[in-house]
């Protein structure tokens, strides 16, 4: 299977050193080749499986329950400002 290790790393927000790139490219390639073996199977007429559990239609009722998760999350956030998480600015105008 074709892939570019730089693109995979970019999408995963990983900064790889060049020796890491080489190693990971080899490892990922081996994994993909292994999975590729599945292509030998005839899957004509077989419905794609999205889930392996033999279970469907699991719902919850539309009910509100309070949670104090935010207090803990804000306490552990790298940056916070009062009730808000703080992140670097990302949208720039040209």
């Amino acid at each position: 299977m074709e892939f570019k290790i730089e693109r995979v790393a970019e999408l995963a927000r990983l900064n790889l050193k060049s020796e890491e790139k080489q190693k990971l490219e080899k490892d990922l390639g081996a994994i993909l080749d292994y999975v590729k073996k599945l292509e030998a199977l005839d899957t004509k007429g077989v419905e794609p499986t999205s889930h392996v559990l033999n279970m469907e239609n699991v719902f919850r009722a539309d009910e509100v329950k309070p949670s104090d998760a935010a207090e803990k999350a804000l306490e552990h956030a790298p940056h916070a400002d009062g009730r808000f998480f703080k992140v670097p600015k990302i949208v720039h105008r040209d």
Partner: protein
């Protein structure tokens, strides 16, 4: 060369539920920052999303109202991208098995030459997904603040086919869609609260060319008028660029309402590879025919059907009917007036002019109208019977709104009954002619405008109560005689 625009719209509507799509956090608007969050919507490891049944049913309801093919089987998928409004770095959405497949929406639109036409706009799909959090930039220079209260709120994304051909059609599509969403009571559709949002995909191509041009997605459109303006601007920008030999780049642009322009949204975090895959935390769903039928059975009469019924049943003009049905409560108010005995045309005219003007001036919604439909019908009946003049009736309406009294009570109390007694009017006419020789001479010399002064004098004499039709008749007769 002539260019034509090709427009497709993506509408996100917040479904009216108490709790979020996959967790039990409240959807209440305006709460303190991050107070409606929990391990699920903050994306903590080990937490498990579970689908809100009410949200799915509301989603199906919209699908049925848009004549969509409702799926027999559906599943959820992860849409992966890094952006701080997503705590999980993916959004739970639907990729290849959405709850609603192809559908259509009939819209009534005005062509450039003012003709009303019906157009069928295709719906590509309408799928469920969770909303993202909100980034706050105001007043912060060294970063952005994030509030995840909106994160996980149930949305239905309604995607149109690229069937729209003008900013006006886009506007009319949105109006028609909003009306349907309100009729089926799935959302409050409040754009200010973000419960209805729209992104527009716009491209242009030479007239006659089948292949679409490169499209640009416009975001940050906070009202239907803005959508219309932004599309208009974008059509002109793209046409100019192409004629100047430039190539259109596929990109996301933001609308700047202050400047009336769109600008390119450059973000290094923008990775156009969502790598959708089945959400492993949510099992698939099978919808039974009974469930879909039971939801279908509860659908109300929809705006287009109602407009057609109004035209047929009440004989009001097409345009009036479509205006009235755009807002469910307004249509109900009109119909109630007619049921109370007011003439349909009178009711339609008075609701669209005087009543709406009054409500707009007071900035209140039709459902909070201080004059009940029964009372309004009472006033209209007085107008139709000639008991009060139209001019007087406008004042009576204000009085009704202020005091809550019935029209006939106010007319009686204030002695506003229109004078149709020809003897009385004749006297007033004679008096006016005698007192205004100059106006009379001017009129006889062919100056039609001079009649106004005479009518004014007669109205003054009768305290505005003379029936204007009879005044005019007698005046013409006396002057010519």
């Amino acid at each position: 060369m002539n260019y034509e625009p090709v427009i497709g719209l993506e509408v996100h509507v917040q479904l009216k539920t108490w709790s979020k799509l996959f967790c039990s956090c409240s959807t209440e608007f305006g709460a303190e920052g991050n107070s409606h969050t929990c391990p699920v919507c903050l994306g903590w490891p080990g937490s498990l999303p579970v689908l809100n049944e009410a949200a799915l049913k509301l989603g199906i309801r919209v699908g049925l109202a848009l004549n969509c093919k409702v799926a027999e089987r559906l599943k959820f998928d992860r849409k992966n991208y890094f952006y701080p409004d997503l705590p999980k770095a993916y959004q739970i959405s639907q990729f290849d098995m959405p709850v609603n497949g192809k559908g259509e929406l009939l819209i009534e639109t005005k062509t450039a030459d003012g003709k009303m036409i019906e157009r069928k706009i295709g719906i590509t799909r309408a799928h469920l997904e969770e909303d993202a959090g909100k980034l706050l930039h105001e007043g912060i220079t060294d970063g952005s603040l994030v509030d995840y209260n909106r994160g996980g709120i149930p949305l239905l994304e309604i995607v149109s086919e690229p069937d729209l051909r003008s900013p006006q059609e886009a506007y009319d599509y949105l109006t028609a869609l909003k009306a349907i969403l309100q009729y089926v009571e799935v959302s409050d559709c409040d754009m200010e609260k973000g419960s209805l949002r729209c992104d527009a995909n716009v491209s242009v191509r030479p007239v006659g060319q089948e292949k679409f041009g490169t499209k640009v997605e416009i975001k940050n459109l906070n009202s239907f008028k803005m959508v219309q303006k932004a599309i208009q601007y974008e059509i002109e920008r793209q046409t100019e660029a192409i004629e100047g030999g430039e190539t259109i780049v596929q990109e996301t642009r933001l609308w700047d309402d202050g400047k009336g322009t769109t600008f390119s949204m450059r973000s290094k975090e923008e990775a156009h590879d969502y790598r959708y895959f089945p959400e492993p935390d949510l099992v698939p769903f099978t919808l039974s025919l009974e469930l879909v039928k039971s939801i279908e059975a509860t659908l109300p009469e929809l705006p287009m059907a109602r407009a057609k019924r109004f035209i047929k049943e009440f004989g009001i003009p097409e345009y009036d009917a479509y205006v009235l049905v755009q807002e469910k409560k307004l249509a109900e108010y009109f119909e109630a007036c007619v049921r109370e005995g007011a003439g349909a045309k009178t009711a339609s005219n008075w609701i669209q002019t005087e009543l709406l003007a009054m409500l707009n001036a007071k900035n209140i919604a039709i459902e909070d109208c201080p004059v009940a439909s029964k009372e309004f019908a009472g006033l209209l009946k007085l107008v139709e019977a000639g008991t009060v003049s139209g001019k007087t009736a406008k004042d009576v309406l204000q009085e009704m709104a202020a005091t809550g009294k019935a029209a006939d009570v106010i007319v009686k109390e204030k002695g506003l009954t229109q004078v149709s007694d020809t003897g009385l009017i004749e006297k007033a006419v004679e008096k006016a002619i005698a007192a205004n020789p100059v106006a009379v001479a001017e009129f006889k010399a062919g100056k039609q405008k001079a009649l106004g002064a005479l009518v004014g004098a007669i109205m003054k004499e009768t305290q505005g109560k003379a029936n204007p039709k009879i005044v005019n008749e007698i005046l013409q007769k006396k002057l010519q005689g």
